[in-house]
Symmetry: C2
Subunit: 471 residues, 2 copies
């Protein structure tokens, strides 16, 4: 039967080649986006091309794609490649089931049901439920809409009444909270950035004061967002304290655990999420700390029924049979939806809770090791002791943006920077448990070498960074 | 290197097996969602299981998953399997690039750029741009937010001011419009369902009257949604007439072409989308009429810059280099995002505009053939002459919901029903150009056989349908 699918056969070869390539040369060639169309024929023709040409072009594209599972890809909060998870994903895309109904997804809906319930129980939402969303931003948005609608039961039907509805999130939380507020019609300026302590944790007293200020001014607070793993520092808000404030003022508490939620699987580190069971909802991305292919984000809700209450629509052409438990379309922002559950389920079955917990522990060890390397190096300055899996530092005398761009353009390392206390710092997130201490030592060495070169030749770096906001 | 990924190797076997299985037995066994956990061990263990066990379980899940590319899957608006598209998707998931920045996605961002610009030009948005979204509902939501923000430039920052903002869509349009209005804080009751003519097309005079009524009442109309291919009838609103009304009242015109947009590729049928170039935005799903694996939805916008204007957020930890043209994160609802572009690009390169146009023509031929079969059959009643690729009919004397459920439970055919003029009718959407006239004749025969049986044994069907809203 595969003979009827010659390009699927070719895809198996292409995957094999991509995996080989990554082990042989861990960083893709640096070619700018402007130059790439001269090298690869991206154009879409009137008349189609042969199988062989499609295969060749796909291979060229693969060569010019960042090798995100390589030890030299330390750029964003994802990386690595779990064997079982990728296997589940390859099967899922070939099966091509849409997750809105059991009628269209079959066993895959039961996979999503079992998995999301298991995750809910682990968080401490004993009766909780969940659904996969198209990334952490969309999971957070799902929570914002539920919180908004619970605070004002008229909004879903009648729309906003014009009252200022305010929400609270740490000053260093992810941009999706502000974005979600804009999408939901709440408005970006009604997001209150609450100051953090020197470890990046929201200060409860500042939160309480901000809420009281808004109440006194006649505004309508509705949501506290606690970040479990900030984007740059990997810091954890004190969830238990924030839960007490949420209860005091009767606000929805959401935990943005896009980065940090899987840490509940580690007996050693789950204290970072202490109090998560008191939240109303929680975002858990499996494509970050669990090395599952993008995207695999779950929005978990403590009180069952709330997803359906806020997102179901009557559509007799779609929801025709079977229980609503497995007709996930009524619980999701989306209608037709990819099967993101199978890859996470395959990972989980393969490693078990315990194995996944060990992977998390390993990430912390890698972070500690990397922080030690930085601390011991005379030309590097550790920004702070890591709060979890992110290591932030500067190379003395070299702007971090220049350093990261040069590392990339020299095809040595793909790494990014972030702002801490007004300074750009290099950020290495440990998200790939397959990395070794040696590989991290090599990465830090490469950073030091390029930093030294830039220190000696400052003109090299001066023009290397293009601000994306300017062009 | 593939030896380091034994389960990826296994996945290739599993895909092969799934393809074989589909050709040997085109309908999966019927097992209820309640019974399935007794057959397959979905539970998530503390200690992981072996590679062999993961492979075996994935195979069991695949066996109990609807075979959506088979000629007997005529259920929702997707189906079939394009070789090049699936190849592109398998490679994409193995490469695992996140589409927010060029730094993380490389050549894949250029693929998305070329493809979305090509699609924009074909629609007639000569300067237009686009971005992939997580399904048609999310593309439509993207348009609703842009229209809302353009109508009231204060909303993004300050939130809704409480004015009733109204939008207009045909009474038989997709539920995502109402859902999107709820998400955006506009409110479900501010969606005006405009009556359609007997061919399912929104009546422009009714639309104009509704807008005037709202203006007279002091409400704030902001958006007209024209449906290009309704979910049940496959009907097309008269876009050119609606565009004139949008212009008259200075409203945003969105075209929900989730189903019908690819029809612009057919010289023979593109007149159905006449006037689309006058719209402000358009939703185009490639996972429906183009047999690309789920999901592959594009939101196209005529005026470049609007996506960034309404969706970009400042995030120095993410957007660090390269042009914003290829840093798609600033144009999307999402942050981390799957590479949905590569599969569509592979399809397009393989078939070309012309080949894709021929596939669309084939779908219309299949619909006409199927409608003829229905028309000629004494026990079937064609609901209406097909407006495009959907064929709607009833088996005389047999409720359509009962008929569809029996076809499924007898493992003969997976097909759904929808409401037309207050009656449930069987709906067959022609979305798979690989189907043959013979296969459609067989499908219609199966429907007639089961209908005859139900007519003779009405008690069989009486208890076969479970209303998902009740349980």
């Amino acid at each position: 039967m595969l003979n009827s699918y010659p390009l699927v056969k070719a895809a198996f070869r292409l995957v094999q080649r991509a995996l080989d390539r990554q082990s042989q040369s861990p960083v893709a060639p640096y070619i700018s986006a402007e130059d790439l169309p001269d090298r690869i024929d991206f154009s879409l023709p009137v008349t189609g091309v042969s199988d062989a040409e499609v295969e060749s072009l796909l291979d060229q594209i693969a060569q010019a794609a960042p090798r995100t599972a390589s030890p030299r890809f330390l750029n964003q909060l994802f990386g690595g490649r779990d064997d079982a998870a990728l296997a589940g994903e390859i099967l899922a895309v070939a099966l091509n089931n849409s997750m809105y109904t059991y009628k269209a997804s079959g066993a895959n809906a039961v996979v999503e049901l079992e998995l999301t319930r298991h995750m809910a129980r682990i968080v401490g939402f004993t009766e909780g439920e969940g659904v996969f969303a198209a990334g952490g931003s969309m999971s957070n948005f799902t929570a914002i809409v539920m919180a908004r609608n619970e605070a004002d039961p008229d909004i879903r039907e009648h729309g906003h009444d014009g009252a200022a509805m305010t929400l609270y999130t740490s000053a260093i939380s992810h941009y999706s909270i502000t974005k979600g507020a804009a999408l939901a019609g709440v408005g970006r300026e009604n997001v209150r950035p609450i100051p953090c302590d020197d470890r990046g944790r929201m200060i409860p007293e500042k939160l309480r004061a901000a809420i009281k200020r808004d109440l006194d001014a006649g505004r309508r607070p509705f949501l506290i967002n606690a970040t479990a793993g900030t984007t740059v520092l990997g810091a954890f808000d004190p969830i238990r304290s924030l839960a007490a404030i949420a209860q005091e003022f009767n606000l929805w508490l959401h935990v943005d655990g896009a980065l940090g939620a899987p840490i509940v699987l580690s007996n050693k580190h789950r204290h970072l999420l202490d109090g998560a069971e008191l939240a109303d909802s929680l975002t858990w991305d499996a494509h970050k700390l669990m090395t599952v292919p993008l995207v695999a984000s779950v929005i978990l809700v403590k009180k069952p029924g709330l997803l359906a209450k806020h997102f179901s629509e009557d559509a007799s052409y779609l929801f025709q049979s079977d229980s609503n438990d497995v007709n996930f379309g009524g619980k999701s922002l989306q209608c037709g939806r990819t099967n993101d559950a199978l890859k996470v389920w395959a990972l989980w079955k393969h490693h078990g809770d315990a194995g996944l917990g060990r992977c998390i522990d390993r990430l912390f060890e890698l972070a500690r090791h990397t922080a030690d390397l930085v601390r011991q190096h005379p030309e590097l300055r550790l920004t702070k002791k890591p709060e979890s899996v992110n290591v932030c530092f500067e190379a003395i005398g070299v702007p971090s943006d220049v350093l990261c761009e040069q590392l990339r353009q020299r095809e040595l390392l793909v790494v990014g920077y972030g702002e801490v206390d007004g300074r750009d710092v290099v950020r290495i997130p440990m998200v790939n448990p397959d990395l070794t201490f040696e590989q991290m030592s090599e990465a830090v060495e490469l950073i030091c070498e390029v930093a030294a070169d830039l220190r000696n030749n400052p003109e090299v770096g001066a023009q290397s960074v293009i601000d994306p906001r300017c062009c």
